[in-house]
Symmetry: D3
Subunit: 248 residues, 6 copies
């Protein structure tokens, strides 16, 4: 991948192959939420809130330990053409459920449930505008909202120890026109032969690696190259998260 900066062919938005889109995280955007952040990856815009609920789900009650869950949704006109509301359809689609399971599982991977105490934090990720990478943006912004809610709990004296053990962020990588690229936007994603979502801790370890051949299969070497790209991008995201949390 060392020469990826040279072959800058093929990205419509003039980015280098290993370059993130403009990423911005604005903390505390929703007045009522214990933690919140608006995360933007280029034109992708996700509103993340973290809500503290002093009750855990019934099957976890009475054990003195906490829980974190996530929900994901898109506004109907977040997409290029309008998508019907899931509430109107009467059920949550498979795609939505798969994504919110991924976000929840990832965020739970960094929570010390004993330190959190018997309460639940619900992280809502609502996509206001979609241009590819909404699930990885949700994890990246959801972490900031979650961290701010944990700080709120600490400030209120409700918990003693900060319950997050690591920072966590995510990015998509893929193979587009034969090249390994970082942080695909919608038009790249549509044209991608392979699409990987990578979720990583600031320890450099992974918690999720999901790779799917959309058009043609991939080799062990492809996996290697894409994981390296993802690692580079996620390390940059950790800096942006840190900045957002500190200025909150």
């Amino acid at each position: 991948m060392s020469n990826s900066r040279i072959k800058k062919v093929g990205r419509g938005d003039e980015r280098l192959l290993d370059q993130l889109r403009g990423v911005r995280i604005t903390p505390n955007v929703v007045e009522w939420a214990e933690g919140s952040a608006l995360v933007e990856f280029g034109k992708t815009r996700v509103l993340c809130t973290a809500s503290v609920d002093e009750k855990v789900p019934p099957y976890r009650a009475g054990k003195g330990i906490g829980w974190v869950t996530a929900e994901y949704s898109m506004l109907p006109r977040a997409t290029h053409s309008r998508t019907p509301r899931e509430a109107a359809v009467g059920k949550v689609s498979g795609r939505t459920q798969e994504i919110q399971r991924l976000i929840g599982r990832s965020l739970r991977g960094i929570v010390n449930f004993v330190s959190l105490g018997e309460r639940q934090i619900i992280v809502d990720c609502d996509v206001l505008q979609a241009d590819g990478g909404t699930r990885t943006a949700s994890i990246t912004g959801g972490y900031v909202a979650l961290a701010l809610a944990c700080k709120w709990l600490q400030k209120k004296g409700l918990i003693d120890t900060f319950p997050l053990t690591n920072a966590i962020a995510a990015v998509s990588v893929g193979i587009v026109q034969g090249q390994h690229v970082l942080d695909l936007n919608y038009s790249e994603d549509s044209a991608a032969a392979v699409d990987f979502n990578v979720v990583m801790l600031d320890s450099g370890e992974f918690v999720e690696v999901q790779g799917t051949a959309e058009g043609s299969p991939f080799s062990r070497n492809d996996i290697d190259a894409m994981l390296s790209l993802a690692e580079k991008g996620i390390r940059e995201l950790f800096e942006i998260q840190k900045q957002a949390i500190s200025e909150a």
Copy 2:
């Protein structure tokens, strides 16, 4: 009501009894939508998009005339404590349906369906942050999104005549602590004895007047006083709408 400006007692946010909250309408906030506007009444913030669909509902097809419909929803953490998603619950609540029926009916009141041609415009009103008056804000902002979508249709050469016959806006009025007040925020709304939603055209005529006694009943005189207050507020809203559309 002439002396309402004098008795400024009782409004937590220092407003006069007949004063709107700070209202702001930002046009073109969603890149993909044919028309869009973010409307803010104080802390109430609603994202309105207007989506052009070249098909009308089946029962109106083949007649060469258009249709306008509206959907309304709140993000789970738009509210002081988190509200479960209607998609997760599996059905749209009665309150939501009542509101989206009101918005749709109001907006249809200003549309010339022949000029619009056989197509549908769907106005989505998604509440990002709620602090009272979300349905009236939705109508007020929804009008701007709808007007921008109609301009888009005209610019694209898809329609000849601008299909909106009037401007339309709405505001809430009520009786709080015995006083007639304009544009109630959430805490006033919770304490109100009577709550009116008024939808008016720029001709000065009404298309909806919905008054409900929440705590104690109201008289003919109360109705009169509240309609006067609403009229004053809505006239100010028409100016803000005009401004937003012109700068779009």
Copy 3:
């Protein structure tokens, strides 16, 4: 409106502009219910039952105070052409929910929940035959069923004080062919430019005023004229209710 009795043009059923249809309320029509009434406004026929439930909804439990709620439905062939059952469709329509929220809110406006004690009364309004004005007939007949159920509670020694503070009744008014008319039947309702539903107490005060422009908007003067008409009609309904309750 003083000359409304003169201009008797335009009502298909030969009624004066300010004349109710034939109204009949038959009490105690359902053997098992604590209170019941069959209410007829011309061809509109609604079966109202009031069921005492010794439990209140969970969120109100343990406070020693009562609750009243309402449900509304139409038999499939209450309408000119058959309407599919909401149970078969699998959800309650927005229209139905809006109506049952209105009925419940109106009836709760006259209940002293402390006198009622910690129990719930459910008022079911089932339309057997629909010819316009079903929601106002439901409130008018629902009051009788509710009052009879309260009398039953008193007779059984379950409550000490009669828990209803007022009588309540409702009627529709509207603008049909440019004229203000009282108690619209289905064909008038279909042709109406404006439709108002007015719910009033026997104190002469209002608890709900809902006016909707169906075809053309309305002025302050129209509102005034229609409220006067409604008031006249509702005063007649109070007499019919009183009669029905006394003969029960």
Copy 4:
């Protein structure tokens, strides 16, 4: 069974073991329906309407032949204690579906679908008050509504030949306190060891025989005795149906 008239012990309402409750069928009770009848078996009261729909279900379309279907429902307070609405619950219960399948299947057994032509008749059976035997009352009254709708079709010149080949009626029989009894009311039904629903044509042949042991099993002799009782009761019902149709 010959001595059943002698042992009149055990029926709370003083009936003989082989005696029907007071049965009344009032035709044409719903103004808008093509056929309708209110059927009463003692306190059991079912409103039956037959609605002509000029379309058949998609899978039967284009064949020139008709269809008959039935729906069954109970008003919430038809029962001794209030039953929640199926529309509110969001689904039709197993019991309801089983009953409406039975009614539809029975009525279809007497229809010549070629004579009916490519149209559907929907028979709605809504129980206003329940006191046992609602499904057999529904078949008995549903036949009258169906016959009246067929007469309406004939009178309108929409069909040439009357499409019903037989009269059909139904009754329940059972074993209560060791005795074979006809037409069980609710309290008998609750105490019955065995419950049979029998649907018969005026030719004396059966279209449905459904026997269920509720408390203790039954023998071949019991079946025989109960079928004889049912036959006797149904023959009486045919007379009452004929009367109702002729006076319609």
Copy 5:
């Protein structure tokens, strides 16, 4: 019927009119279930499991007595052409509910709920391959699964007395091409004029008799003949059940 063995005309699979298909019951086919059996009637194949649940439904709790319930389903490709899954459709069909109510009611008819103690046994009948008679096969195989679960409870020392009072089995009979036949397969069932499902105890008494005219009505004599046929078949099934339970 005495000469039914002579007239062997008309059965596609060379069976005598009063002959069962090849019936096989394999016990203990599911490792995790407390009781299980695979039952085959010719090509009809149903997997029955009995699951012990130490909780009873809420409305039966705290009384020290048990409950038995049944669920029935078909794999999508159990049928000649694929049937959509009820889970995908979002609701259990009327047919399925009717069948599982029948199975549950039948099995409950042989249970001493006091001996069973306050626990529930759920009998699941999943049709792997359908060729007619799935409901009667489910009862026949469900009994074996239920009996094995009861033996498991006894072996574990959880109950003292075996809680089943009788053996129970079921078979279908019908009229095909004018002849009374036992145990109809799918092609016979499709062609049958009359279809009876008979559920019998090893005492020779009945718990369910459900006869339906599919094409033409039936007489008292037909009922008699079919009950005799069913009795013969069910007696053979009891032997096969006994064998399966003993070898388990």
Copy 6:
């Protein structure tokens, strides 16, 4: 991993770390299906059927090309304790949808939709008994059912060219007690720190790699080791598939 055969510590069932469970694929187990296979991985048992439908989904119609989709479900008692049916709950769970999307996507990766022609093949994977690895078993067995259905199409002369471009199979790998292991059973899966599902073509290329940290995160080296293990296992599965198809 070279010494994995030596450290055989820790697998309850005496397997080597890189050893599959006993795998058996029985073809043609469902008489009515165009293709079918029962696949067993140890105690995990999945019934796979492939149903040919001569219609494609509406949005793909009229293009002359085919489609393949998959559905996945578990019998209620496939699991150690009984799981409620999704049909009874009224919706397909997120887990089920995620799995059936994976199976469908994987199988579509080997289909030439032009060769298949405008028809759909639906692959149903119903888990009869679950002991870990049901989704990878479903892909492995689903391939056999799909291949047999394609052979059926070819034999019937409905297609010219065999439409599958590759064989496909899948296996799970993971980290259990610090060791990389192949083909986890349920108890290993429950204890696993990391769980990978790998789907591979017989070309040696991948179509899906899904790795999830269940307890602790994983490194690049772990990914490498697990992919090697998976590759070894899947190569063995290709042989078993080939055998099953040839003997069908």
